[in-house]
Structure formats: C-alpha cells, structure tokens
C-alpha cells in the first residue's frame, strides 16, 4: 500500500532525542511523509497523525514530561486528539501524554532505580486499536526499552477501568508470553508497557518501535506498530473519499 500521501507530525521539544529516528522509520522504512513540529507551534499543520518521540524533554526537570505538557503545541495536540486524530507517544512521549492528562496515571522511578536499556518482550493485549491492527491476539513482540521512569502507577479504580475497557495494549512478559513479576523490568503496575485512551486514538508505550523497525537493527517488530497506524490512516482516507464520491 502506498503511504506517501499520509503526513505524520513529529513533535520536537528541547531534549527530544528520538525525533530523527521516528522520522527515519516513518519516511525511509515505511514510505509515509513526516515533518517535525516545534514545541512552540500553536496550530498544527494539516496532519494525519502525531508522534511524540522519546528523549528527555526539558531535562526531565520536576517530573518527566511535566514541563513539556505546557508547551503551546500540547494544547493543539489535545484538540487534535479530541477530534479523533491519532496520537502515538513513545517513552518520554508516553510520559508527556500522562502529564497532559491525555492518558490516565503517572510514571514513577523504575523499581530498581536504574536506567534500563535492553530488549524486553511485550504481550499484545488489544489488537483492536488503530496502532495494533497488524498484530495477532496474544502475540509476543520483542522491543527495546530505554528509560528510568517507566514504572506505571495509577489508582485502583482507574486500573480496574483500564482493564475493563481493554485499554492496556501491551504488558511486559517472558519470551513465551507469561506475564510474571520476573518479566516486569521496572515494577510497572499490572506489567503495563503501553495503554490507550478509552476511544483508542491515543496510545502511549514505553518500548521504542522506531528503534526496532528494520532487520538491519536486528529487530523489525516495531515496524508493525507504524504499519498498523498507517493502515488505519489509509483506511480512514479511503472511506472518506468514498463518502465524498457517494
């Protein structure tokens, strides 16, 4: 499928450091169009989706993501998400989505207090989101993580609601798909590695799909996330076109 007409905006904050990797994965690996959107931008250009990349926005001062959420662009992203636009937050991008209230909960320091940079396995808990259409139920993906604050926490009532509404999209697991404490790298509540909003158009995930998007990197599993997102956007475009023609 030709994705070249699809335009993805990649937010850039002071301290973002996975923005170029995301741009490369989206344009060079997957053949869609991408542009960088500076954090001071108040009105988003015409975009099909927004990616909030990883890094250390504002040096992680105060709490991870807490300063970035007040950047002018985040008000525009909140409007974009409210209108149903797809928003993918990766690592620090996930932390920013939590601080901005676009996803519930918060990230605590890793249980071990260490910065963890390694490949982990995640179990795919929901294939019905716009970001996971290419994945199979119960599929296990091997993806890299690199963070010091990935220990997801929320109150019990929110956790129950997340589970009931199938908003947990990825959980840390063993290579054969068992969700056990030993396979949880950071102490995250219920082994949560990624979750969506109730509508499903906003996804936050700690693993880095852009660092695992092609075979030369030793791992192409992350490509499936971007491909799923582009499939959803393409389908939405086609149905819109059909509606206009009808």
């Amino acid at each position: 499928m030709n994705h070249s007409a699809i335009r993805i905006g990649i937010l850039v904050f002071p301290g973002s450091n996975c923005d170029q990797d995301c741009h490369y994965a989206i344009t060079q690996v997957l053949g869609a169009s991408a542009e960088f959107v500076w954090h001071k931008t108040e009105t988003l250009p015409s975009l099909d989706a927004v990616v909030i990349p990883g890094g250390f926005s504002y040096g992680d001062y105060l709490r991870t993501g807490s300063i970035a959420r007040f950047s002018p662009v985040m008000a525009a992203v909140a409007r974009f998400a409210k209108d149903g636009g797809l928003v993918l937050g990766i690592c620090n991008g996930f932390q920013i989505l939590l601080e901005a209230g676009l996803l519930p909960g918060v990230m605590l320091r890793n249980h071990s207090l260490s910065f963890i940079c390694k490949d982990v396995h995640v179990w795919v808990d929901n294939t019905a989101t716009p970001f996971t259409g290419r994945l199979k139920p119960d599929q296990v993906l091997r993806l890299p993580i690199a963070h010091a604050e990935g220990n997801y926490y929320t109150d019990q009532r929110t956790l129950a609601s997340l589970n009931a509404q199938h908003q947990v999209v990825f959980r840390y697991c063993t290579p054969d798909g068992r969700i056990i404490p030993d396979a949880n790298p950071n102490g995250s509540l219920n082994s949560i590695a990624g979750l969506s909003n109730s509508r499903g158009n906003v996804l936050g995930m700690m693993p880095h799909p852009e660092r695992s998007a092609e075979a030369i990197l030793g791992n192409a599993a992350g490509r499936l996330i971007f491909q799923s997102m582009l499939d959803s956007l393409q389908t939405a475009r086609l149905s819109m076109k059909a509606a206009v023609q009808a």
């Binding site: 105060l62 807490s66 909960g105 605590l108 320091r109 890793n110 109150d155």
Partner: protein
C-alpha cells in the same frame, strides 16, 4: 515575599529512592532508621505582598504543576 512548597509522595506510594537512602543509612550504621521518604522542596520568590493572593496562587501552582495529584501531596508556607 518568599514561599516554600513541599512536595511529598502520597502515603502508600512506593518510594524506591527513599528505600535506597534507607539502605545506605543502614550500611553507615544508622540501624534505627525505620523508613525514609524523599520529597522536594521548591523555593519561590513572589512579587506580590498580598498574602491571600499569594496563597491562592501557590495552591493552583501546586495543583497544576508542582505536584502530580495522582502520586503527590503538597503544602506550602509563606515566609515574610
């Protein structure tokens, strides 16, 4: 007018940093320390001399930015 805002983890929230400090104190021989919780002290210098306004502002600063209400509590004091 100066103010101090104290941000602390809510009771029941695991504090791995506090646990690490607790263990370090233990290895220094302070075996009587039962628990450690690490928080933040934020000092502010305010232009206003209107105390009720300062209090109202500090409250919203705590709620909107300085603390994350999911895991943290805050309290403040105003120093003349």
């Amino acid at each position: 007018m100066k103010a101090r805002v104290y941000v602390t983890l809510k009771r029941g929230i695991l504090d791995p940093q506090g646990q690490a400090v607790l263990h370090a104190l233990g290895s220094l021989g302070y075996s009587g320390v039962k628990d450690v919780r690490v928080g933040k002290l934020i000092e502010l210098e305010l232009e206003t001399s209107d105390r009720p306004k300062a209090e109202a502002d500090l409250k919203t600063m705590g709620e909107r930015l300085l603390a994350n209400p999911v895991i943290e509590d805050y309290r403040f004091e105003i120093l003349e």
